[in-house]
């Protein structure tokens, strides 16, 4: 390898480059942070699996050199749940977009948080459905113009940190793609956490969201993130909802401990079945 190899290159399927993301898109930035977090936390890459749903962020699974699964729309979390339960030794990351995780996959999101399945969820929130051409998402701020709300959306947007905290997540953080170091640190932190962790990354879609709403290009969005973000660790998640041009509260909002799903199951079965309980063996049936 030449001396000029990018340090994140070993984490990528370079034979799949160039990627499909637009100039100014923030997804690649988040992948960079993810790779740096892996380097920082010295995670065993062989026991790391990444699961994506459908959409622009859903394509992350195809670019990382890991056991990676590009599943169906909204179902990355239940797929990841099966993977984790069958092989608890795996570190399972769900990497997907806001529409995938909170609209079509919203039911799975809240139930995985409720069960406290040991998954690390990275939710890249670009405030719209980008892959399909910029339609309204549950995360689209009120009044924003999208291809399916040409006169402005009137629905209130989901406040995702508030939602997952209420559902039971043990770790909740939000950053923007401007906050690359903080984001990488948060991802590394989530790896040290057992249970359902959720990191929201506010990310630009200059092609569809920023352009339609006359919010400038990728660089203008970085400036907006820089100027309007306020770091408030421990902020009450009920107060971190987003508006179109207002303040973006970022930081680590929730960091708490409660037993994860598999720990609870084992405890329950040991108590109820005593000697009759048989620990799940390696399931590998080859």
């Amino acid at each position: 390898m030449s001396d000029f190899t990018n340090p994140v290159e070993p984490f990528l399927r370079t034979d799949r480059m160039p990627h499909i993301w637009c100039p100014g898109c923030g997804i690649g930035t988040t992948v960079n942070c993810f790779a740096r977090a892996l380097i920082e936390s010295k995670i065993d890459l062989e026991s790391l699996a990444l699961v994506s749903g459908i959409g622009c962020t859903g394509r992350v699974a195809g670019y990382v050199k890991l056991d990676s699964f590009h599943t169906t729309h909204g179902r990355a979390i239940p797929f990841a749940t099966g993977l984790k339960l069958a092989n608890p030794k795996l570190n399972v990351v769900v990497y997907s977009g806001d529409g995938d995780l909170s609209a079509i996959g919203g039911n799975h999101l809240i139930h995985a948080a409720r069960r406290n399945i040991d998954l690390k969820v990275i939710c890249v929130n670009n405030l719209i459905y980008a892959m399909t051409g910029g339609q309204t998402a549950p995360t689209t701020p009120s009044h924003a113009i999208t291809s399916t709300s040409p006169y402005g959306t009137c629905e209130p947007a989901f406040n995702l940190p508030h939602l997952v905290e209420a559902a039971g997540a043990v770790y909740v953080a939000r950053w923007t793609t401007f906050h690359v170091r903080q984001l990488a640190r948060s991802i590394a932190e989530a790896f040290n956490k057992k249970g359902f962790s959720f990191i929201e990354v506010i990310s630009p879609c200059p092609t569809l969201y920023q352009r339609r709403n006359k919010l400038g290009d990728g660089l203008d969005t970085m400036k907006y993130y820089k100027e309007k973000s306020k770091v408030k660790h421990g902020a009450p998640t009920s107060e971190v909802g987003l508006t179109m041009t207002g303040e973006i509260i970022v930081g680590k909002f929730v960091d708490r401990d409660r037993p994860d799903y598999q720990t609870m199951v084992r405890a329950q079965l040991t108590e109820s079945l005593g000697d009759r309980f048989v620990e799940q063996a390696e399931m590998v049936c080859s």
């Binding site: 699961v51 699974a61 069958a86 030794k89 139930h111 399931m283 049936c285």
Partner: protein, 385 residues
Amino acid sequence: MKADPRGVLTGVHFLDGDHACCEGALAAGARFASGYPITPSTEIVERFAARVPTVGGTFIQMEDELAASITLQGAVWGGAKAFTVTSGPGFSLMMEHIGYAAMTETPCVFVDVQRGGPSTGLPTLPAQADMMQARWGSHGDYEIIALCPNSPQECFDLTIKAFNLAEEYRVPVMFMMDEVVGHMTEKVVIPPADQIEVVPRRHTRKPLGEYLPYQTNGDMVPEIAHAGEGYKFHITGLTHDERGYPNMTPPVQDKLVRRLQNKIRNAADRIALYEEENLQDAEVVVVSYGITSRVAQRAIEMARAKKLPVGKLRLITAWPFPETKIRELSAYVKAFVVPELNLGQMVHEVERAAAGKARTFAVPHAGGSVHHPEDILKVIVEACR
């Protein structure tokens, strides 16, 4: 390979079809199920939830059938043999992931204990009206395998077969029970583990770095690897090449989808299971499956008592449809009589395979109960004329 004795409840039992299906899954090596409650299938996972912690495995009740039908596939890629169970309304929701399993070649079993539909229909009453849905319900071109047990004993035996076929062909297998078979209680003999043949996963033996997830090496079925073994493979529901990488071009689509079809179609005669009786001298053949085959049996006996030249063909494999057998028979029989608990599904396949050489008579029933043998007999008499 022989069954893992820990999962095998050897002995003579008095079980309903649902419970027998659960025991079949355990005997086949299934150690993971994800489900969502729906009558009349729930007893299968209720039993599994009670049994599997004592043999080492997992049951999780998911938030809906969309989740249940993909959670099990995550478990398969984590190394487990896994299944889910449902009935019509849930089966409709699972179609998305039957397509995903077909496309990603995830070996797994979907049990559908059929009830009357459409929609919520008849929650606790039988039908056989999901037969076409089992074959065609998900979008795009693909093939699946579907088996139809007609007794609790077969719910045990054929569930093992279903898992074995899933592993052999890396395909989702539909286990098409019906409410009566699911809820009827009969003697079920579970043999010792060393008499139960279990097909192991087609796990790759290739060294790291040489494995390509969808390379077939001349065979129609690729080898599999599990997450966490170091292969760092990629799986997608997008059209993909041998590396598992998305490649959405017509040639790659053509090669992939044809292989997904042909790995089953070319093996159809090998997969086809059926039971036959008195076909040598038959002029009319009653073709039936599942619970209806037991009513048909009575109708056939009544017809033969009247000296009518009637034979029996019971389909155990519904898909791939055993059309070679129908084609052979249609060369010398006059007619087929096809009773089923729907208003005409598999009868169209019989008619297609007979290709006009023999007449085809449907004996439709909208579901909610089984046929009266007399109703089938009446059509047999008409077909014999």
